[in-house]
Symmetry: C2
Subunit: 335 residues, 2 copies
């Protein structure tokens, strides 16, 4: 099926660009409560499933052993800006397992936030692996290995026991069988597994509700989601959608973006989770889509609803600050 | 009509993201010699039509009066990186009309090239209007005004005589009537006019061939296109598609990108021009599309053809340099 146009980018009186996509909203039992487009198509969750990938860190007891609180767990689920606080905390997480940046296998890159990149360029000759947006996740991986007496060396590999553990968690949560055919390599070198969008949403609905999970996993899932909701700055950073959306309704919305236009979210009190993908991979559309989808589950008259609807229609300003158009969801989200 | 998928982004064995788009290839007489998707839909050319917008600079005699050569004319048609050479030349163009950066009404922004942005961040407190990717075009506008004894103040406005001149050139070249309804404001604050993709291609085909143009316009058009082909660095800069594509076949390919996934090109020796738009506005897809479209017009066994085909399928490497997938045109371009 052809995915509907979910987001339009306007200029003057015209629509200049169009984004298509699919949205799945699922409850803990796997019931599809809202959808747009092809929700059975397999998508790579990319960074959107970092909270799933962090389960071994908590379930193994490593997070407790190293004294991790909400900030550390949020950073383990993060695609962060590489701001000073993010970098310092990733370093601290590693040090608690007796490791340092040398152990990170994620590669290095400058911040993807222009503002932070400019600060980094003025302070650093080059970024390190600690500045990589995934450094908290990787620090968590290394801690999970060290606590379980697994050699972290090669922890990004498909065959490494940690990735086997993560794969099993992904299969169990999403109810899918993950074969080598559905495996890609992520930006930070770990495997990423394509699963149907609907299954990805179901996995997050299970995490948010505990439905069908053993007590250990239910508790670890709740703890990770609550940590992200409690410390949204550590999940992304200044000016970022994940942080801003979670700040709109503190403790009520969990959300996490992934590369190539993926966004996952959950509203634990409503017992539902969201997974969506903008077909062309563009972040601006995925951000509008997740805000509009989240808004459906809050009272129409509420401040949270108004803030989410506002987020789903972003004015674009040019270099002189003139309002030239908008990025806004289409009527596909109406009704 | 629904535009076809023109570009796929792969990861592992799967297609992760898809881009749709439309392509029009037209000869000097306006005959459509190749097309994909809806070529009658109106698109904002954005920066892709800077060579059209530079016509008053040449036709008025300003370019000659100020001693502009290929570099200056290429910069007048450019969306440049804000590299030192670009900034210095824009300053020099203004100075020849007795003006300076204060006269620029384009606004300021950091380079859109990460590499150049890092250099700028280390040297500058903040970017100036000279660093704006459009500063060469705006310097050309100001020179065109000064030479014609027009007050350049407010030259970005819809009613300013210079914009009236540019609008007339756009209408004549594209054979369309431009109303206020089809006018948007561009990133640099000048008006941008939505015209059918096919008409935009026809306008460039007229410029490349001179078909149907009066001798003054035919000469000015050829001069601008030849200047860009002679000095591709000044049209964009290091690592940029416009520069790289024109360097593949020196003096044989003209091309110019625009924001929101637009690309225009011409092959003067073949008497054709190209206008295309990626529906979702993503540059990576527009670049692959223009390379694949250009390739159709070169001998299959030639080096130029091979280089263009290679450009239409770009490997993506992650932070560790691992090949994780490709951005590549689809079979829509076959046959």
């Amino acid at each position: 099926m052809t995915n509907p146009v979910t987001v339009e980018v306007t200029r003057g009186l015209l629509v200049e660009s169009r984004h298509r996509g699919a949205v799945a909203v699922v409850d803990g039992d796997g019931k599809l409560v809202f959808s747009l487009g092809d929700v059975e198509a397999a998508v790579f969750p990319r960074s959107s499933c970092k909270a799933m990938q962090a389960l071994p860190l908590v379930e193994s007891g490593a997070a407790d052993a190293y004294g991790f609180g909400d900030k550390e767990l949020a950073l383990a689920c993060a695609s962060h800006n590489g701001e000073e606080e993010h970098v310092a905390l990733a370093r601290s997480m590693l040090s608690r397992a007796g490791r340092d940046a040398q152990a990170l296998e994620c590669g290095a890159h400058w911040s993807m936030s222009q503002k932070i990149l400019i600060q980094q360029a003025r302070m650093l000759d080059a970024p390190t692996a600690l500045h990589n947006n995934c450094s908290g996740k990787h620090a968590g991986f290394i801690c999970a290995c060290c606590h379980q007496d697994l050699d972290p060396k090669g922890y990004v590999g498909y065959q490494h026991p940690l990735q086997v553990e993560i794969r099993a968690a992904m299969e169990s949560l999403t109810g899918t069988v993950i074969g080598a055919d559905s495996c890609g390599t992520d930006g930070c070198s770990i495997p990423t597994y394509a699963v149907p969008l609907r299954s990805l949403a179901h996995g997050f609905a299970k995490m948010a509700t505990g439905t069908g999970l053993d007590p250990l996993r239910a508790k670890a899932s709740r703890r990770l989601i609550e940590a992200c909701m409690a410390e949204p700055f550590y999940v992304a950073g200044s000016g970022r959608a994940c942080t801003a959306l979670m700040q709109i309704a503190p403790g009520r919305i969990f959300c996490k973006t992934g590369a190539e236009g993926v966004f996952c979210a959950a509203i634990p009190e409503k017992g539902i989770a969201i997974a969506l993908k903008c077909e062309d991979g563009m972040t601006r559309a995925a951000e509008a889509m997740v805000a509009a989808t989240l808004a459906r589950f809050f009272e129409t008259e509420s401040e949270v609803h108004a803030a989410l609807i506002a987020y789903a229609a972003t004015p674009m300003r040019n270099w002189n600050g003139i309002h030239v158009g908008d990025v806004r969801v289409t009527s596909a989200f109406a009704g």
